[in-house]
Symmetry: C2
Subunit: 123 residues, 2 copies
């Protein structure tokens, strides 16, 4: 069976050259967050083993945790069936969310009401 | 503490009125797929308990599994910190992927090469 070498340019990016990447914790299966990458961020992620997104607001590479220390060590990078979404299985150091919660998805809709599932971690 | 009733219009949609929604299997933690919803699809999902996306290609509501039987029963709908991404915890009936694989993320990049993690299920 022929091997396909991975080329980031073969992924399907949106009109802004971005692809969504879901981060999932390897040890627990928690879905931590979703953020965006461009082709170069995908390449850097694979090269360095440290998940690197593209910050749309700052228009700059965002190595997750470079400031906070809450880094994501890449365990496995996966591509979906139509190649327009990524799944990064990671080992997350500390909280993934900038609000200092373990995951970003901390609000649930239950019986029509928003419920907070977890509080920020103590510093 | 005041309750916030959930209003789909308070989510942050993109320029096309869409928000990404990640589907995760409740029983195993598998990340199944990611697809898009508009505000009405979010409302229908909560109302019916059956995950309903918006098909960008068909420009129509897509009740997951309506044709294939591979439905997603909603267990919990969660919102991320900046309200521009959803996480649907679901019970998935059969394979989630249209290629008849359990999940859409069946290709991994390992040592620079694309590796197929699972084959389509037998019919």
């Amino acid at each position: 069976m022929t091997e396909t070498r991975f080329d980031p340019s073969t992924l399907r990016y949106d009109a802004n050259g971005l692809i969504p990447c879901i981060a999932q914790e390897e040890r627990t299966g928690e879905v931590l967050m979703m953020a965006w990458m461009n082709a170069e961020a995908v390449a850097k992620t694979l090269e360095t083993g440290r998940v690197t997104y593209w910050s749309r607001s700052r228009q700059a590479f965002w190595i997750k945790g470079e400031t906070s220390g809450h880094v994501q060590e890449l365990v496995d990078l996966r591509i979906d069936c139509d190649r327009d979404c990524l799944l990064a299985v990671v080992r997350q150091e500390g909280p993934a969310c900038h609000t200092n919660r373990r995951v970003c998805f901390y609000t649930a809709v239950r019986d029509g009401v928003e419920v907070e599932l977890m509080e920020p971690l103590a510093d």
